[in-house]
Structure formats: structure tokens, C-alpha cells
Symmetry: C2
Subunit: 417 residues, 2 copies
């Protein structure tokens, strides 16, 4: 069961929008045991869309198209599909009542532009879009040499809802699919190539149906194991062979079954019923924002202070003026006073603090851009670490410090086991 994804939109080609739809779709399809063979992005261009659709229909069992369904003039997907499938654009009853329902709900008047959202190629079947006015259209194949085509809106949350509730169930019904299992292992504190050397004996011993990929992100490496199993394989009997990996690289493994370290922190704090507070200087709210992006964070996250200026470090966190004067804002001493300050003032069990020079400017000879002190604390004391990797890229420095802080708080919590 193979899939080709075609994402339509000039904004994707010129880079004004990151193609998050492709990754969302890839995740959902992979989890459902379907294999994405290829993703193609084309602009709002008749010939380019036609060719992408035609190629994709000949190479995969199903083609998922996103975008170009909006009410505006640059949206031409429906026109291409009418011509491709040799049928007329007609008003669809179900789609129209859906548009009406949404406009009534929002208290807006139905304009002709919006009514046109209910026009679809006559040969497709409409899968109802509960969240938006653009229709989701299913084109069954008449020709045995070509696959099914599904056209979805490009609005990310509508697309995701339709994938989960309409498209994937329908694809599973139409095709019988093999099984794909994946497992993530988060590794921190060792570079990708050193890790590769270290775990090579284990990697070479993996069975043929299991593949390994290295995904380095901001100082952390995610190892992804993928197993491809036949349809009806008894899942309870399958286990990824991890003993060899733990034997060789156990001390660098921070956790399993998470996409990100923020997810692992979230899960760990919830499981243990501990509360957290954060004091961020150079990470500027990134730590708080990654944690609070996850539903349920309010159960453990007390709050945070983005202490960008020294005044805020002193007045809000209680860092001593003398400490800032003698050691500077970017120092172990300041990091420790920040973390103790935020933990006590916000009444949390554990806390994180960061202070550093994110760059691209502001470094000195002693403290170059990329110098970050990170501290974690619980009721028993404070532990600080220096991160210094010489990069001048601001976002990289912020992301690395964030990941390092997440790894440190997980170690702090789990070392007491």
C-alpha cells in the first residue's frame, strides 16, 4: 500500500510557509501502516498540478493532494481535477449544507464566493469536512493502472481532522495494509558520528526487517527503528532488539518512545506528580513555550520568568546584585541563584534556569557566543553545567540550551530512582 503526497501552493515553493502538512500526513499514514513513497510540492500552476497528479497516480496506490481549494482566485485544484477526470463542476448538496451550517454557526452571511466552495467535480464523492468550508473529494479509480486520488484542503487543522476521521479509515477499508512499527530512542551528550561508531556492532546485528535512522536535532540524536511486518503479524510477539544498544550506549540514552525531549519532560513530571518552574534568560521563553504547548501542562507547570534584563534577574528572581557584578550574568553563580530563586518564589518542586549568549552578537573572548550556563534544582540543591559549542547561530544556541536543560532535569528527577 503506497502513497504519494502532492502539496499545492506557491507559498510552499517560495518558502513563505513550511510544509508541515507533509510531515503531519507522513506521521499519520506511517502510524496506519501505509508507506509514503514520495512527496511532491508544486505551485498554483495548471500544468504542474496536472503532471504531478498524473505521475503520482501511476506510481502509487493512492494519491493525497492538499491545497488549492480556497475561495480565492489562485486556487485551481478543482479546475485541474475536472479536466483530468473529464467531468463538470457541479454544486454538491452535502457540501453546500456543510458550508451553510458553518456560516450559520459563525453568524456570517453566505456570500457567492463562499457558496462556490460547494462546487465539486461531478465524478467525485464528497467526504464531509466538519471543520471547514472546503470539500474533501474522493476520486475512485476506473483505470486499473492508476490509483485512488483524494483532494484535501491545505488548512492544517482541517487537513489533519479529515485525515484522521475520513481519509485514513476509508483507505484502510479500500486497501488491506501491511504493518509498520517504529520506535524512537532519544540520545544526548554524544555526537552522531561517535554514536554511530559506538553502536555499530549492534546496528550490524539488526534483523533485515528492522532499519535504523539517525536524526540529530539541536544537540540531541533521535534514533528511529522501523520494522516492516506482514499483514496480520501477531504484534504482541514482536520486540525491537534493544539490549545491545543499551549495553553499548546506555549512559547516553535519555528516554524512549518520544518525539522530543520536551515530551519526555512533560511525561516524566506528570508521572511523578512533580511541579516545575523555569527562569530563562537566553532561551527567552522557549522552554516554557515548548512545555505549555502540550495539553495538560498546567498540572505540573507553575510558571516561568523570562529574565532577559539584569533588573528582572534581581527584582523578580532575587539574584544578588553582587553576584551579577562579580561573576556576570552568564555564570554558574547567576544560574544557580536564578534557579533557586524561581523555584522558591514560584513554589515548585524542581526548577530550570538558563543564562547565556544566544548570539549572533554579544560574545566576548572569555564568553563567546554560544556560552550558556544551565542549572537545575530540587529541594536538595542545585546542579549547573556549562554549554559551549562555539556556534554563532541564535536559534541553534537557543534550541541546544533548551534540549540540554530538558536532559538535565530528566537526569535530576530520575537519578533518585
Amino acid at each position: 500500500m503506497t502513497i504519494t503526497i502532492v502539496n499545492i501552493g506557491d507559498e510552499l515553493l517560495i518558502g513563505q510557509v513550511v510544509n508541515s502538512n507533509a510531515s503531519t500526513m507522513g506521521q499519520l499514514l506511517t502510524a496506519a501502516g501505509m508507506e509514503v513513497r514520495r512527496t511532491v510540492v508544486v505551485g498554483d500552476d495548471y500544468a504542474a498540478i496536472w503532471r504531478a497528479v498524473d505521475d503520482a497516480l501511476h506510481e502509487s496506490d493512492a494519491v493525497l493532494l492538499t491545497g488549492g481549494l480556497g475561495p480565492t482566485k489562485d486556487d485551481i485544484t478543482k479546475r485541474v481535477l475536472c479536466d483530468y477526470y473529464h467531468c463538470e463542476l457541479v454544486e454538491n448538496e452535502e457540501a453546500l449544507s456543510n458550508v451553510r451550517r458553518l456560516f450559520e454557526q459563525r453568524g456570517y452571511e453566505l456570500t457567492p464566493v463562499n457558496r462556490a466552495q460547494a462546487l465539486v467535480p461531478a465524478c467525485c464523492e464528497v467526504l464531509n469536512n466538519d471543520l471547514g468550508t472546503a470539500p474533501c473529494m474522493w476520486f475512485a479509480s476506473n483505470d486499473p493502472a492508476t490509483g485512488v486520488l483524494v483532494s484535501l484542503p491545505g488548512v492544517p487543522f482541517e487537513m489533519e481532522w479529515l485525515m484522521r476521521n475520513r481519509v485514513i479509515p476509508r483507505l484502510q477499508e479500500t486497501f488491506s495494509t501491511g504493518l509498520i512499527l517504529t520506535k524512537n530512542i532519544l540520545v544526548q551528550g554524544i555526537g552522531e558520528s561517535f554514536l554511530s561508531d559506538l553502536i555499530e556492532p549492534w546496528e550490524l546485528s539488526l534483523p533485515a526487517d528492522v532499519s535504523l535512522a539517525y536524526l540529530p536535532v539541536a544537540g540531541m540524536t533521535k534514533l528511529r527503528l522501523t520494522a516492516r511486518l506482514p499483514h496480520h503479524y501477531p504484534l504482541s510477539t514482536f520486540h525491537f532488539p534493544l539490549d545491545g544498544l543499551y549495553h553499548l550506549a546506555g549512559k547516553y540514552i535519555v528516554g524512549e518512545d518520544c518525539e522530543t525531549l520536551s515530551e519526555l519532560v512533560h511525561r516524566t513530571l506528570l508521572q511523578r506528580g512533580l511541579t516545575l518552574a523555569v527562569a530563562e534568560s537566553c532561551t527567552g521563553g522557549n522552554i516554557a513555550s515548548q512545555l505549555t504547548a502540550q495539553a495538560g501542562a498546567s498540572a505540573y507547570f507553575k510558571g516561568g520568568v523570562v529574565a532577559y534584563s539584569n533588573e528582572v534577574k534581581e527584582n523578580v528572581l532575587g539574584v544578588q546584585h553582587k553576584t551579577l557584578d562579580v561573576y556576570g550574568a552568564v555564570s554558574e553563580e547567576t544560574a544557580c541563584e536564578m534557579v533557586q530563586g524561581v523555584r522558591q518564589r514560584l513554589g515548585a518542586d524542581v526548577a530550570i534556569a538558563t543564562t547565556g549568549i544566544a548570539g549572533p552578537d554579544g560574545g566576548t573572548r572569555e564568553k563567546p557566543v554560544g556560552t550558556v550556563w544551565i542549572a537545575v534544582a530540587d529541594g536538595d540543591g542545585c546542579f549547573a553545567q556549562l554549554l559551549q559549542h562555539g556556534g554563532s547561530r541564535r536559534q541553534q544556541n537557543i534550541d541546544r540550551a533548551t534540549n540540554q536543560a530538558f536532559a538535565m532535569i530528566i537526569h535530576l528527577i530520575c537519578q533518585k530512582d
Copy 2:
């Protein structure tokens, strides 16, 4: 001058990594006047890479390949290119000395795995990668029917540096390129379809060489105008025709020439020399994090408080216990006390506060998920607005509240002009 981008990596297809490389490349190429025709993503698979390369070379003047150059076993790009161009893998002197230099700099020992990074197909030219060990490889075309191919590492910051410093200058030298100009206009407070109706007369009057796209993001719509001009067009004589747009929709236009509202806030505060503090409940650090991701934010950003719990609202921001008791945490009264509190305590000229229910749970009948109070303040007082759009998606609620807050602070600052 047309380009096809081919991004290689299983992690992209299964959605574990968002393909930010494609958007970065699209932005840089578009800004350099080159047209991205198509972006293709394929997995770490020999046949798929071969076919993508072959197709791309026959459809575009240049093909940019990313990924599959790492030291690990899943990286096969060089093997495919050797076979495609009928040449051997050989150790490249320049690439080896670059690998050596980087390992010495980092104080690491050079392992055989890392030394293998200096192996390249004999027929390519190495463009030096100052930031990493993976080589950037330029394959000139021998066959007039096919284009140039450049293979770049997939590590985003290495790729971006190589694009800016090696690849784009070399492409500009090799091809003479037409001009593409773009202009963004940020619109807030009106839905996409209503905006489309409103500005239709202006849109229909646009000259043929200017195209318009609507990019709705989290409650904001970015209008992108693109002009395609011939090589050597006198740029100083070209102007986008915006009078008609301002005449029809001026009151919804927040700014021009920015990608995001956070960029506009950043620029506006820097230009006016005003300082900012933020108090975030439901946005959880997202406002602070978006602002501090931009270099130079420390010139205006005093800091922020992520006041997730009521205790923090009271103890750190000075919201009265009575206010929380009588009106609740999600109320105009609390938002105003938060914004005044953070402005005064952090000593800023202007301030933003948010308090709401991000979801997916935690809503009530009176205050459903998606209810957010946003307040902005300066020395003259506080202004608050209610956002209530009934969505249950956490990240959407956070992003919409963030954009609304940014639009409000821009209005607050600019209304005094």
C-alpha cells in the same frame, strides 16, 4: 532559470522531521530571482533517489539535492551520484583537510567513519563547507538536455550557509537570471473569504506580471504580491500598486514587508526605542519566545512572566486575590491587572498580557475553550480585547492569541502617530 529541489530522507517522508530545508531554500532562491518549479521528497532508497534526480535534471536548469551525506549507513546519496555520473568514489584533498580542520577545532580524534566524509564522486567539484564535515558537491552538465546538480548536506544550518555563500553565487555566475520581486502585506481582523470579496476590484486591476496569493495563518492573513520582471529591469521604476488595496482594506492592514507579526513588533519597538514586558498565561511563553528568537531583541525586551498558576499571577504580577476570586483568571479585570503589573514590575514602556483557555480541555459554558482575554498597556492605561472563536485546538488557540496580541501592541504604539 528554473530549479527543482530534491530532499532526501526517510525521516521527512514519515513526518518525523518537518522539511524546513525546502522552505529555507525556496526563500533564498526566490530572493535571488530564481524560480523553484517543484520540490520532491524521497526516502533513503536507491531507486527513488535515482529517479528523482533523473526527472529533475530533465525538467530544470539546476537541481539542488539535500541529505543522505552523513557518516551513517542509511546515507546513500554519494553512491547514487557515482553510479548516475559513471564515476568512482575518491578521497578529495580539500574535503579531507576541511574534515581535519573541523576535528582539530573541536578537539576530537579523526575516526575512519569521519574520514569517509571526504570521499566524493570523482567527476564533481567540491564547494567548501566551512561549517561541517559533509561536502557540498557541484556536478556540471555534460549533456545539453540536462541541468547542473548540486548536492548539499541536510543539516539545516550547514545547508543554509552553503546556499548563501557557495551555491547561489555560483548559480548566479553560471546562469543569468530574471528578477522576481515579492511584497508581503499583513492583514488582521478579517477572514480570508471576506477579505477576498472586499479587495476583488483591486485584485482584478492588477497588471499581468503581478500575482497575488492569500496566506492565512492563525487569525492573520498575509497577502503576497509577486512580480516577475525581465533581466535588467530598472528596479527603481517598479512599484507595487497598493493604493487600491489601502483604499478598500486599509483598516485591516497591520504592516508591510514582514513575514510575521512578531517581526513587525520587533521592528516597530526597535524603531521607536520602546521597551516591552509580557505576562503570559495561556500563551505559555510563546510571545516571549517568538520575540527573543530574533537577534537584537534584548534592546527592547525587558522580560516576561509565564503566569500559568494563579499563585504566580498574584505573587509575581500582583494581581489581587479578590479579582481572581470575583472575575476569574480568564477575565478582562485579570488581564488588565496582569498587564499593569508586569509593565510596572519590569519597568517597561509597553506591555502585553494574555489569559485564557488554550484547551483542548478546561472550558466551561460561559468560558469555552478558545476564550482568551488579551490586554496591552502603556503609561496612559490599559486596553483589553476578548478573543473567542470556539476552536478546541490548543496550538491554534495559542497562535491566534499570540497574533492578536501582536496586532494590538502595534495598534497601541502606532495610534499615537
